[in-house]
Symmetry: C2
Subunit: 434 residues, 2 copies
C-alpha cells in the first residue's frame, strides 16, 4: 500500500475525495510515523491522538454526507507550541505549560476548513533563538543528521514535516524562525506578508516583526494550503522573462563554500531558464549591524511580552533568555527608537526594490545545519530578517545539498501583499529544480 | 475699498480670476497687516517680502497669460518655522537657525499650485509644548487677549490667521499642535490623516505621531485648500441624519464651566438640526494617563530627532527642553514599548469606533487661552492626542466664547483617510453655527 504520509497535500485531498483512503487512515499513518520517529527527534511535544481521531471520524462522516468543509478537510496538521489549540497545553518553549482556553484565530480558521490539529511542536525557548536546543524540553533533533540542530525557532514544525509526521505545520517567524529550520531541514517555509495570518492566540514575542507561517515538504503543498491559510490564490507564471534582484548585501554575510556552490549552480539554472538576475544594492550596509538593531527590538518587546510570566514564574525562563530580555528591557529608549528607525528604513528599502523586480533572491542562510555543540553563528538570521522588516512575503525552498549532504535553502522575497505572485514564482522555481 | 485680508480664500481666488485685484495687491494688503500687527504679536519670525513680491508679480503674469497654476495661485501663505522653505532660515523654535536648501515637499507642492510663501511663523521650542512662550525668540502673543498664550506649538500659524496676516498657514500636530492654537485663537485647524501631507522637509519631533496640517479662518477656507494640500475633495452632506459619537472619556478631563456651557449649547443646536449624538466609551480609561504614554513616545523620539543639534549646539536648547528629551532618551526601552502598545491600542479603539459613527465629537481642549504667567495645564493635549494615535483626521472649529470672550473649539474626528467626509461634515457644522 502507498505510504500515505508521503503524498502531496493535493494527492491526500484527492484520495480522500475519491474514497481511496479515509481521514482516519490518513491520520493513523501519520500517528504511526510520529510514534516511530518522535522518540529520537522530539519534534512533537504534545500529541492529541484522541482528539485527532475523533476529528478524523467527523471528517469522514462529513465527506460521506457530501459536506466536506474545505480543501484541507481531513488533513492532519501541527502547530508550533506558541500557537494556542483549545484544551491543549501551550509552553511557548518555556519551563511551564498552560492550557489554552480557545483556538488561536488561524487554528480556528484551519479547523473550519476541516484540518485536524494533531500535535504541538517543539521550539526554541520563547521563540528567541534558532537552534531548538531547549533547556526545559530537550533538543529537537535534525531529521537526517543526528546531533545537529534542525534550526529554529520553529524547529519542531520543520522536523515534523521533514520526517513525515505531519504534512503541514505552522510556525512563527520574527527574524527567520519559519525559514531557518525549513532551510536546515530541507523543507519549504513560507512567511506571508505582515498580518496576512492573524497572530491572535499566538504568544507574542515582538509585535513589530512577528509573523505566522506554514511549513510543508514542497512549494506545491504550500500553494495548495495558501488559500485556506491566507486567502491568497497562487498565480503561477513562467520563469522565462522573470526579473529577479540578487540582494548585494548578502555578500556582507559569511556564506560557506558548500552553500555558495549550490546557490551559484541554482542561479545558473535559473538564468538558463530565461530568468534575468541582477544585483541590487539596497543601501543597507552590513546586514549584521542591521540584524543587531532588529534583535534589540525583539529583546525589548519580548521583555514586555514575557514580563508577567517572568514575574510569576521566574524559574520558567533560562538565564540566557533572561539575559537577552534584560538587555532589551533596560536599553535606553533612544536606542530602541534608533533601532526601530533603522529597521523601518531597511524594510522600506526592501519594498522599494520590489517595485523594480519580480522578486528578490538570496540564500536563506549562509550555512547548513551545524552540530549542537558548535558555537551558534551570530549571523543566522542576517538574510531572513530583511523580509520581516519590510513585512514582505518570503519563502525558502531546498535547492541542493552541501558536501555533507545537508540541505541548502534558496530564499525569494516578494512585494508586500503580493503573496499570490510570490507563490506562483516559487512554484515555477521548484518545478525547474526538481 | 474692500479689506482684501478679510476675504475668504474662494473670494480671493475669484477676485484674482476676475481681475478685481492683483496678486501683488493681495500680497501688499497682507504685508501691511503683518507690518502693523506683528510687532505686538511676534507671529512672523522671518518675512520674505522680496521673494513674495517677485512671486506675486509672476502669479499676475501667469494669470494674465491664462496660465494660472491652481486654485491657490496668488494666495499668500505662511509656514511654521519647522517647515523648510528654500533659502529661508529654519529654527524649529530652537536658539539657532539654518538656511533651508530646499522646500519641504508640501511647500513645493503648494508653490506648484501657485501659492506664495511669505513668512515663517513662530512656534513653541522644538514643537514640544503648547504655549508658544519661546525662550529664544520670545512669546507669540494671543491675537485678541494680550498676555495670554495663543496655544502651540503652532502658535504663530494660528495668530497669523486670526490677525489677518495670512489667510492660510501650515502647522504641525503631534498631539494637538495645530488644533490647540486654532482653538485658543478662534480659527480652524485641520490635522489630516497620517501621512496625507508628507513630512519630508519638516523637522521631525516624533515619527510615530507627527502630522502636518493647515489653519485658516473658516472650514470653508480649509475645504477650499484641501484638494491642493492633500488631494481630498470635501464631500458636503446635510447634518440631518448624521450619527456622531460623543467620546465618553472626555469626562475624565477637566472642562472649565465656560467651555462646558458653550459645548453643551453646541450639542443642543446640532441635535435640533437632526444630528444624533450618542456617548461612546472607547475603553481608554483616563485620557491623562494615555497622554503621558504618548508624551513618553514624543520625548524618546524627540531625543533622537534632536540628538545631533543638541550635541553640536547645546546652547540652542533650553534646560526645560533638555529635561524632557533626557527623560525620554533614558527611559528603559520596555517603558517605550509599553507606551507604544498603549497608544497603538487607543488609536485602534478610535478607528474601531469610527466604523459605527460618522464622526467622533469632543471639545478640542477643556479650557480657553490662559495667561502666560499661569501654570500650564497638564491636560492641554488630552483631547487632541487621540486623533494622532489613530492617525485619524481631525478638525477644530470655533463654536462660541466663554464668559471672558475667549474662543472655544469643537473637535470632530473622522475615519482614517475619510478626510473628504470629515471636511464635508465640518462644513455643515460651520454653516449651522455661523
Amino acid at each position: 500500500m502507498t505510504d500515505l504520509t508521503r503524498l502531496s497535500l493535493a494527492a491526500m485531498a484527492d484520495g480522500l475525495d475519491a474514497g481511496s483512503f479515509s481521514a482516519v487512515e490518513l491520520l493513523e499513518a501519520h500517528l504511526t510515523v510520529i510514534g516511530r520517529a518522535n522518540p529520537a527527534l522530539n519534534a512533537v511535544w504534545d500529541l492529541d491522538a484522541d482528539g485527532a481521531r475523533a476529528a478524523a471520524v467527523e471528517s469522514d462522516r462529513r465527506r460521506a454526507a457530501g459536506e466536506a468543509r474545505g480543501s484541507l478537510d481531513g488533513i492532519p496538521i501541527g502547530l508550533k507550541d506558541n500557537i494556542d489549540v483549545a484544551g491543549r497545553p501551550t509552553t511557548n518553549g518555556l519551563g511551564l505549560a498552560w492550557t489554552a482556553e480557545a483556538d488561536a484565530e488561524i487554528v480556528a480558521r484551519l479547523r473550519a476548513e476541516g484540518a485536524i490539529p494533531v500535535a504541538k511542536l517543539g521550539m526554541h525557548e520563547a521563540a528567541l533563538g534558532a537552534t531548538s536546543d531547549n533547556p526545559h524540553h530537550g533538543r529537537v533533533e535534525h531529521p537526517t543528521a543526528p546531533g545537529r540542530t534542525p534550526g529554529g525557532s520553529s524547529g519542531g514544525s520543520a522536523v515534523a514535516v521533514a520526517a513525515g509526521m505531519l504534512p503541514l505545520t505552522l510556525g512563527t517567524d520574527t527574524l527567520g524562525s519559519v525559514r531557518l529550520p525549513a532551510a536546515y531541514c530541507g523543507v519549504v517555509g513560507y512567511k506571508p506578508s505582515f498580518d496576512a495570518i492573524a497572530t491572535d492566540g499566538v504568544m507574542p514575542l515582538c509585535w513589530t516583526l512577528d509573523h505566522v507561517g506554514p511549513l510543508a515538504r514542497t512549494v506545491a503543498d504550500i500553494a495548495f494550503a495558501a488559500p485556506a491559510l491566507t486567502g491568497f490564490e497562487p498565480e503561477e507564471r513562467p520563469l522565462q522573462g522573470l526579473r529577479l534582484g540578487w540582494v548585494a548585501e548578502a555578500d556582507t554575510v559569511a556564506i560557506e563554500p558548500g552553500v555558495h556552490g549550490v546557490i551559484d549552480a541554482t542561479l545558473a539554472r535559473l538564468r538558463r531558464a530565461g530568468v534575468t538576475i541582477e544585483a541590487v544594492d539596497l543601501g543597507l550596509g552590513s546586514l549584521s549591524a542591521l540584524r543587531r538593531a532588529a534583535l534589540l527590538i525583539v529583546e525589548a518587546e519580548g521583555a514586555v511580552a514575557l514580563e508577567t510570566i517572568w514575574a510569576d514564574h521566574p524559574e520558567a525562563l533560562s538565564d540566557t533568555l533572561k539575559g537577552m530580555l534584560s538587555y532589551g528591557r533596560d536599553a535606553p529608549s533612544s536606542r530602541y527608537v534608533k533601532a526601530f528607525r533603522r529597521v523601518e528604513t531597511a524594510g522600506a528599502a526592501v519594498n522599494a526594490a520590489l517595485e523594480s523586480f519580480d522578486a528578490l533572491l538570496l540564500p536563506t542562510v549562509g550555512h547548513t545545519a551545524f552540530p549542537f555543540d558548535a558555537a551558534v553563528p551570530d549571523d543566522q538570521a542576517d538574510l531572513t530578517g530583511l523580509a520581516n522588516m519590510g513585512g514582505a512575503p518570503a519563502i525558502t525552498l531546498p535547492c541542493g545539498a552541501d558536501g555533507e549532504g545537508l540541505p541548502v535553502g534558496l530564499q525569494l522575497i516578494g512585494g508586500f501583499y503580493e503573496d499570490a505572485r510570490l507563490l506562483g514564482m516559487a512554484l515555477a522555481v521548484e518545478k525547474l529544480l526538481r
